[in-house]
């Protein structure tokens, strides 16, 4: 079943995806570069094409809190934010995940002040990596739309019951126009049926206390259950994407997509839109006879350790591109990948590449340089573990 194709930007694709997912409650607060999402959603509500309550909350903290309230009675809730807004609502994220509320949120990845900057890097979402939310990173507008639909199906899976954050790179994706297929509502309704009252919902038939306190005699157990359900959601992530493919004819290869990795000597790992640039670079380098590969990491939590280990078998050097800095250490994804390699008892050479901070371009040349450095390391060069792309100062 194919839908209509429209030329829309990433934010509009998100809004289309949300409309198709039929949330009952949308509560959001504007912030660049997310604003187009909430503008479109309020238009849909006004014109009646989305039958939802649009809640004009006075902050992001209230946006998520309102979604928590709605979700706690079994309503489907959506919010969207970015950067300062995500950090402002930070307290409420583990709140939602601890209460096992299947909320879906779009985060338009944007730099964090100070210095102020509205352009894209992925520092914002990294702050919330430990919030108990499943985290996706998407590459293009079609994937952004599709993931709104997949997101609810995953979050609401009774075995998962975990909120989902879909990260969409600010401006590069939120404000870039692409041809996007809008799925048919009937197809989406089949794939994503109305939310059945979850077991943990407050209801008149079975009144409950939610978001309770648990002392040191039980608290660890609550956290363990949440943690292990999140770990187990790895298989649901694959299953939901496969099912999506059966209905809509396109999949995203689950938690990660491995491109030309089978016989690759060096592999670069990316998350988000920069993957698109990297695809082109890999093609060119392959054409020139270089054995390079690429991994598009789509999910950072639960971290797809096993799939990474499989995809990196036999690879001699691994580079990780981070659009974030964990001040005082390195890129966050780099740390995670190295730990996964240790778990797989694999010891390829690894290099971290930090770039794209505050919206700095990551060019094809930058990525060619990254692949080049990985080959240099294989030839015995002694390079710094962490490399910085396209920087204009000494450090």
């Amino acid at each position: 079943m194919s839908g209509v194709k429209r030329f829309i930007c990433g934010d509009e694709a998100v809004a289309e995806g949300v409309r198709l997912a039929r949330p009952h409650v949308v509560s959001a607060y504007p912030i660049t570069p997310q604003t187009i999402v909430v503008e479109r959603l309020s238009e849909y509500v006004e014109e009646g094409s989305l039958k939802a309550r649009y809640m004009h909350v006075e902050s992001e903290h209230s946006a998520m809190s309102c979604a928590i309230g709605a979700s706690s009675v079994g309503a489907r809730a959506f919010t969207a934010t970015s950067s300062q807004g995500l950090l402002y609502m930070a307290e409420t994220l583990p709140y939602a995940s601890g209460a096992r509320l299947p909320i879906v949120m779009m985060n338009a990845n944007r730099s964090i002040a100070t210095p102020w900057n509205i352009y894209g890097d992925q520092m914002d979402a990294m702050f919330l990596l430990n919030s108990g939310w499943i985290q996706y990173y998407v590459e293009d507008a079609q994937e952004a739309l599709d993931m709104m639909i997949q997101g609810y199906r995953l979050a609401e899976d009774p075995e998962v019951m975990t909120p989902v954050m879909i990260n969409v790179d600010g401006f590069v994706l939120t404000h870039t126009y692409e041809l996007v297929e809008i799925p048919l509502q009937e197809a989406v309704d089949g794939f994503l049926p109305p939310l059945k009252m979850p077991l943990n919902s407050m209801s008149l038939e079975s009144p409950k206390s939610l978001c309770i306190s648990a002392g040191n005699d039980t608290n660890m157990e609550f956290n363990m259950k949440q943690h292990f359900d999140m770990l187990r959601s790895a298989s649901a992530i694959e299953a939901v994407d496969r099912a999506f493919g059966e209905t809509f004819g396109r999949t995203y290869h689950g938690a990660l997509e491995a491109i030309d990795t089978e016989d690759a000597r060096v592999v670069l790992i990316t998350a988000g839109t920069v993957t698109g640039t990297a695809r082109g670079v890999v093609k060119a380098l392959r054409a020139a006879g270089k054995k390079v590969g690429l991994i598009k990491l789509r999910v950072l939590r639960p971290f797809p350790v096993q799939r990474l280990i499989e995809a990196l078998k036999g690879v001699e050097a691994v580079g990780v591109l981070d659009k974030n800095i964990s001040f005082g250490y390195e890129g966050t994804i780099f740390t995670n990948v190295n730990s996964a390699l240790m778990a797989g008892q694999m010891s390829p050479k690894t290099l971290g590449f930090i770039g794209g901070i505050g919206g700095r371009d990551i060019t094809k040349a930058n990525l060619e340089e990254a692949y080049g450095k990985l080959f240099e390391v294989l030839e015995g060069a002694d390079l710094d573990r962490v490399q910085y792309l396209n920087v204009r100062c000494d450090y």
């Binding site: 509560s27 309550r53 809640m55 903290h61 009675v73 008149l204 009144p207 409950k208 309770i212 306190s213």
Partner: protein, 297 residues
């Protein structure tokens, strides 16, 4: 509507088995509010004494649906519950946010304002014990002048708290709210009637109830109700309503009982000098002059 009092109020309980201190005014207010609101109530309580004593796994004190909210988020969570129930077509429910003075006048102020602005169909019950009790009696925006708290110590240089109470009732009314009222657990029938009125109100209502706290105020537990009365009788608290754009004093005593009697019954005020007390009386008189002038026909 039947007048609610000890004779007419039913014997069902929806809030019990909690771990509040003996004589807790706040839990008294909750228990009675819940009796008026009934079994189809969805309660949202932020951090604070009432949340801390009522949701200790596995012992839950609410028999109705209830949840703890982030501290700042009472208004927003209550709105979300009401919106969710409405969107799902679940009728005949009542959503209530129940927050302390700190949770209302300070950290939760913004979310409360947002909820009133949207005129969401919720009740907001502010339970005012005049300090952050759950964290150990710290000064809040509703701690009155001259109160000794753990962050406004009284000493040679300061008489305890040096600020006036924020005027939440009028601030809320200034939003053009559907219904607002002040109350006291010393005048329970008045409080019950106001909760019943809020239940009937479509749109947001706000009730600000005065709830003495033996632990934080330093008085014997059996005096909660008499102190709650004394606050009203001495004119330091007042019973009023705001409805259809107009204020109304529900109690307008010809004379006040001595402020000093009320104050000196509590260790939080025992350090106050004659001068401090005169100052408190003067502020009271100015407030009443205004209320009488502006609110009475």
């Amino acid at each position: 509507m039947v007048k609610l009092n000890a004779k007419t109020l039913h014997n069902e309980e929806y809030f019990y088995g909690h771990k509040a201190c003996g004589g807790c005014g706040e839990s008294l207010a909750l228990r009675h509010a819940m009796k008026v609101l009934g079994p189809n109530t969805f309660a949202a309580l932020p951090a604070g004494c009432m949340a801390a004593v009522s949701f200790i796994y596995p012992n839950m004190a609410f028999t109705t649906n209830a949840m703890i909210t982030p501290f700042a988020a009472t208004g927003a969570v209550a709105s979300g519950i009401a919106a969710g129930l409405e969107a799902l077509g679940i009728d005949g429910t009542q959503t209530i946010g129940i927050a302390g003075d700190g949770g209302t006048a300070d950290i939760g102020f913004q979310a409360l304002s947002g909820a009133i602005d949207r005129n969401d169909d919720i009740i907001y019950l502010a339970t005012d014990n005049e300090a952050y009790m759950n964290t150990g009696i710290q000064k809040s925006g509703l701690t009155p002048y001259g109160t000794r708290t753990t962050t406004s110590p009284a000493g040679k240089n300061l008489p305890g708290s040096v600020n006036q109470k924020k005027n939440m009732f009028e601030i809320v009314a200034a939003h053009g709210i559907a219904y607002a009222a002040t109350a006291s657990v010393g005048y329970l029938e008045d409080f019950l009637a106001k909760v019943a009125k809020a239940k009937e109100t479509r749109g947001t209502s706000y009730i600000h109830v005065f709830v003495p706290c033996p632990t934080g105020w330093g008085y014997p537990a059996h005096k909660t109700v008499s102190l709650a009365k004394a606050a009203v009788d001495s004119g330091l608290w007042y019973l009023a309503e705001y409805e259809k754009g107009a204020f109304k004093l529900n109690r307008n005593p010809g004379s006040f009982t001595p402020v000093a009697d009320y104050l000196k019954a509590q260790s939080r005020f025992r350090h106050l000098t004659e001068e401090d007390i005169s100052r408190i009386e003067a502020a009271r008189d100015a407030k009443w002059e205004n209320m009488r002038r502006q609110w009475q026909g």
